[in-house]
């Protein structure tokens, strides 16, 4: 109700002033002159004063809103720090703060239980998986096992392996998300790439892929070395897996970015969805569909951005520092 009154005051005053002005010009008499001076002047002063007060209040509200925004911007769902807002003289802002705090608490509880579940689920799965794998290994050693049984076992084994890899990838993702790799150092992408490419060398050769390297300048990032290795290994693996026969891989490193391109068929899914979990090009069956979400996660964690581009039969993934 209070707000409604404020809204109506200005039009009411305005119509009053207009009526007086109209009367002053239409019927120029002393009465109107007096009325004009005694009403209009104080009214004007009143209105100017009123505007000034309103302006100051708006300014105060604005400052406080910015304060709230800032607090929200700093809010990290993973940090146990309690979110606090300044007490405001405006009840409406206090209400807003109250609801925000309630909302944040709820988000936090949901997030924590979600996180706990993923973590527990993946860890609890490890031992049973190990036991299943082990028993398959033992079964395989039986001397009088038939061909049909071996065939079945091969399928069981294949799927168990897939499950086990999926599980470790999920554990890795959850570890990255929960900042288990917080030791950082200056990692040279040139050096790390050389190392990883070395590991994949035979594989690249067997697929008949040509590798072109073009390092014009250093690209160094302050990040976890382990994550850097996983990142580059994932990118190179990706470039090998989605390549064509006798294709090529091109790695460019310059001052502010690292990009890796490979020849390959055009995507059947939207580029954005590539980074989502379990989205993948259906052609490659063995792919878990987690590689690029791991890449994206590591980039976010290390202050980098990753972009995908398809041009002239060339898939390119580019990493660069976010603040550029």
């Amino acid at each position: 109700m209070k707000r409604l009154k404020q809204v109506y005051i200005i039009p009411i005053l305005l119509s009053l002033v207009t009526a007086l002005l109209l009367g002053y010009f239409l019927f120029p008499s002393e009465f109107y002159q007096k009325a004009f001076l005694s009403v209009l002047v104080p009214l004007t002063i009143l209105m100017v004063g009123f505007r000034m007060i309103t302006y100051q209040r708006i300014r105060a509200i604005r400052t406080q809103l910015y304060g709230i925004l800032e607090t929200l911007e700093e809010f990290d769902v993973d940090e146990p720090k309690k979110v606090e807002f300044e007490e405001s003289p405006f009840p409406i802002l206090n209400d807003l703060n109250k609801y925000l705090i309630e909302l944040i608490d709820r988000i936090r509880i949901n997030y924590q239980s979600n996180k706990q579940f993923t973590q527990n689920a993946s860890h609890e799965l490890q031992t049973p998986l190990a036991v299943i794998k082990g028993h398959i290994e033992i079964l395989l050693q039986s001397p009088n096992i038939g061909e049909k049984e071996i065939e079945s076992l091969a399928i069981v084994l294949q799927n168990t392996n897939r499950l086990s890899k999926l599980n470790s990838a999920l554990i890795l993702l959850s570890k990255i998300e929960h900042q288990r790799f917080s030791d950082t150092e200056k990692v040279s992408f040139e050096k790390m790439t050389e190392e990883v490419v070395g590991n994949f060398h035979d594989l690249i050769q067997i697929q008949g892929l040509e590798i072109q390297k073009n390092y014009s300048e250093k690209f160094e990032v302050e990040m976890s070395e382990t994550l850097a290795e996983i990142l580059i290994a994932n990118l190179i693996q990706n470039a090998i897996r989605h390549n064509i026969e006798k294709g090529f891989i091109k790695i460019d490193i310059n001052e502010n970015r690292f990009s890796i391109s490979n020849s390959g068929h055009e995507l059947k899914v939207t580029p954005i969805s590539l980074f989502k979990r379990f989205k993948r090009q259906s052609e490659v069956e063995e792919s878990l569909g987690l590689g690029l979400s791991i890449v994206k996660r590591i980039c976010e964690q290390s202050g980098m951005e990753v972009q995908y581009l398809f041009e002239d039969g060339l898939h390119t993934l580019t990493l660069k520092l976010s603040n550029d």
Binding site: H123, Q126, T127, L129, A130, V131, K133, G134, H135, E137, I138, L140, Q141, I150, E151, L153, A154, L157, N161, R162, S164, K165, S168, R180, N199, D202, L203, I206, Q207, T226, I230, A233, Q237, I240, R241, V284, E285, E286, S287
Partner: protein, 225 residues
């Protein structure tokens, strides 16, 4: 060979024992920190396989105690903890090797053999299979009179299979042995296939081709009989 296995997951413990019986080891087990501590205090072992997360205490403490008493025992950690820090800590505390769960039994078998060879003098530095001799110190393979020219990966595959002789070794366990976790199934299987093919060709040329058997869809086997 006397081996102590400290692991609280009963299923996993039984599995390991079953697998190692065939190797002719005497296996003793402990399923808690206290159990393990008692066994270590009362007996000597050639090798101890120790899980880190144990009821009643940290496996690392057990390793320190064991190492303080006996420098001859080989120690292999099996753990679900897989960060570099965990590994370094384990090795610093006196372990000889570190294996992350879930592991392949053939991998554990190969690691234990390697540790036993380094730690005890009971193993020769050569693995002999008729005409075929693998010299572990020099990383050389001799077939008959001739030294075979093997690539590093071929040598590693051959050694891994030989350490698990007369057992079926799965492709994924070979892949993991060669590259750790990073390697992806499809590509690495092609790669192993190509390498085993070359290896078999080289062995055949030297009259030792019959050792390598393929178990279709599963993996390979180094057969000595």
């Amino acid at each position: 060979m006397k081996i102590l296995i400290v692991e609280d997951e009963e299923d996993l413990l039984n599995l390991i024992i079953r697998y190692f019986k065939k190797e002719g080891y005497t296996c003793e087990t402990a399923s808690s920190f206290r159990d393990g501590y008692k066994k270590i205090n009362n007996y000597d072992y050639d090798c101890a396989v120790i899980d880190l997360n144990l009821p009643g205490g940290d496996g690392l403490k057990l390793i320190k105690i064991l190492r303080a008493e006996n420098t001859q025992t080989g120690i292999v950690i099996i753990s679900a903890r897989d960060t570099v820090d965990d590994r370094i800590q384990g090795l610093d505390d006196g372990a000889d090797d570190y294996l992350t769960k879930p592991f392949n039994l053939s991998e554990l078998n190969a690691r234990i053999k390697a540790v036993l060879r380094r730690k005890t003098n009971q193993f020769s530095n050569e693995l002999k299979f008729g005409e075929l001799v693998i010299n572990l110190d020099e990383r050389k393979v001799v077939a008959g009179e001739e030294i075979m020219q093997l690539t590093k990966k071929e040598y590693n595959i051959l050694l891994y299979l030989a350490r698990n002789k007369n057992r079926v070794v799965t492709k994924d366990s070979i892949a993991e042995h060669l590259w750790g976790d990073y390697m992806d199934d499809a590509v690495s299987y092609d790669f192993i296939y190509a390498h085993v093919k070359n290896l078999r060709k080289k062995l055949s040329e030297n009259g030792c081709g019959e050792f390598l058997k393929t178990v279709y869809g599963i993996g390979y086997k180094f057969q000595t009989y």
